[in-house]
């Protein structure tokens, strides 16, 4: 009985320290959209990692002259087993260069997922650094940084990305960089707002009075408290970034052939829309499902992580 008192207190204290994330996770499990989004994203990550296992063919290999090859080029009335055609070799048929469409779409998952996640990670790092600097330093630094962000926001996102890629030259890396820049202001604004409200809180003032360095205050106290809205915004951002990257590739400014990228596949087959619509249909569906997954998870996370939004 001697240890009754500390045992009573300890779990309470533990529970409190982890409560934000635990509660968020518990809320997430009860949100149908977050669950569905997580399932979609999980399936996509498995597909991307194990793409060589799922794919039936080499995504960039032309099937012309391959022994035992029975696939038909889409120009000669496409043959798609999924729609009842008998050719079993190529589930979604061949593309215009006689490559296996199904394998190309499967490998495209890798490109799109990595583009979306890398873009958003980069812009979160850059945007948060800028926003925290602006909010923490205040004064002229704050003014210069935030006015710069205003200018970036003044351009419609895709248009700015297009202009940047025009200068850097077409290619997946440059497209990624262009999209990253368009996303930076959101995270800068979000993190600046958090810093401004946290800066005056007692625990930060106390830490400063104890002689902590600004870097320590930012890393140990401000960042952990400011991160929640950034994560939510970031999850929603991945979907938009994937859409933008696909759009740039569609315009011929992003991924270059023969890279299997969904926007790129759409772009090279769009002139054959009327004869072989399946070439356009499947990569588009793939983009839509991916973006939907991130949007659902982001929406669910926003409801779960932001207690202010818990209305009902």
């Amino acid at each position: 009985m001697a240890d009754a008192q500390p045992a009573d207190l300890a779990p309470e204290a533990n529970y409190r320290s982890a409560s934000l994330w635990l509660e968020a996770l518990r809320n997430l499990r009860h949100s149908p959209s977050a669950v569905l989004g997580s399932i979609i994203i999980g399936a996509l990550i498995i597909t991307a990692v194990a793409a060589p296992v799922f794919a039936t063919h080499d995504p960039i290999k032309t099937m012309i002259g391959v022994p035992g090859e029975t696939g038909r080029l889409p120009s000669k009335k496409p043959c798609i087993p999924l729609f009842g055609c008998e050719d079993q070799q190529h589930i979604l048929g061949l593309d215009l260069n006689a490559r296996d469409l199904y394998s190309r779409v499967i490998f495209g998952t890798r490109t799109s997922l990595s583009v979306g996640i890398i873009t958003i990670s980069l812009s979160i790092v850059a945007g948060t650094a800028l926003g925290i600097t602006a909010g923490f330093m205040g004064g002229r630094v704050d003014n210069v940084i935030m006015r710069l962000m205003d200018v970036v926001l003044a351009f419609p996102a895709l248009l700015l990305a297009i202009s940047i890629v025009t200068i850097l030259g077409p290619g997946l890396t440059n497209a990624l960089l262009g999209i990253t820049i368009t996303f930076i202001p959101q995270y800068a604004r979000l993190s600046r707002a958090s810093v401004l409200s946290l800066k005056e809180q007692e625990f930060v003032v106390a830490e400063r009075a104890l002689g902590a360095s600004p870097l320590r205050i930012v890393l140990a106290h401000i960042l952990p408290n400011a991160i929640t809205p950034i994560i939510v915004q970031g999850t929603l951002g991945v979907g938009t970034a994937i859409l933008d990257a696909a759009a740039l590739s569609f315009l011929g400014l992003g991924a270059q052939p023969p890279t299997p990228e969904w926007g790129q596949i759409l772009s090279e087959s769009r002139n054959y829309l009327f004869t072989s619509p399946h070439l356009v249909f499947f990569p588009g569906i793939a983009i839509m499902i991916t973006v939907l997954g991130f949007n659902l998870l982001g929406d669910g996370m926003r409801d779960a992580l932001d207690p202010r939004l818990n209305r009902s």
């Binding site: 419609p156 248009l159 890629v165 025009t166 759009a247 569609f250 315009l251 588009g284 929406d299």
Partner: protein, 358 residues
Amino acid sequence: MLTFVLRRLTYSLPVLFGILVVTFTLARAIPGDPCLAVLGERATKDICESFFRRNGLDQPAPIQLLIYMRNFAQGDLGDSMRFHRPVMELLVDRLPTTVELGFFALMFAISVGVPLGVLSAYRHKSAIDVGTMIGANIGVSMPVFWLGLMLAYLFAVLLKDTPLALPPSGRLTPGANPEPFYLALGWVAEGEEPLEILRFFSRINTLNAVLTLNRELLIDALRHLILPAVAVGTIPLAIIARMSRSSVLEVLNQDYVRTARAKGLRERSVVGKHALKNAMLPVITVIGLNFGLIISGAVLTETIFSLTGVGRTLVDSITSRDYTLVQGFTVVIAAGFVLINMVVDMLYGYLDPRIRFN
């Protein structure tokens, strides 16, 4: 209100200045010699020097920036390297297509999105509500260009010989050459050069058709507009529906709505007068924010539906490295975007006095 307008104006000017600096810097950052790009690989040193002098390129960069800003203020955006015509003239030629497409896309998004959102909020958790929200989630996840291609396939191929068939490309049936309204109304005599602004408006086919009372032209233009406008408008529609739903939901829980109900007002007047008016404020902001999406959508959709608008011209110019055109079009679109956002903000301040004093 006047101080609010002035404050908002002074806030927009630095942004406009920033846009000019950014487009200026971007254009200068392009690798390669502009002289060789414009005059060709075989231009000699002497020719290049005179080219630099003529275009002010021998001046230091800050002076060049000032020249660029002066020219912009005078509506001079330079000459296109590909078309060998002033960029401004090309803009008057091609902007009407984009303005028309954007307008109808926005009208589609608002006229479908707002009622759907209001209805879902009013019938919270009903089948309509759940259906709208699922539809809105799918809507925001769709790539615009893919939706455009699928619509074209559905309405131009699958429904080809039905009354629902719609043309998948162009603005008018080939061969149509509508008379501009300024000639039909006798504002400008035959053979006389019309004002640029008249030429601009006459190129908006639907407006021209209404002004010249030409019914066939109007129907033809609208039929060509439906598919691209739906493609461009779908993402904004989904966003507007979501926003109006959450906004109305919030207002319906307010005390003054309960009071209105308690007074015994009819439901229609509670929702229509008390709830809707207040719920529409955030929706207006969202509509303003959607202009960026509509411009991006137009860039992608014009390519699909073979519309020679600003977006398609811009994309084509990138591949042919026509930098003056890219710079000119970009700066005009960005400036227009700033202007529209400013107007939306002012409207917001006018409708909600609290904003003005914040």
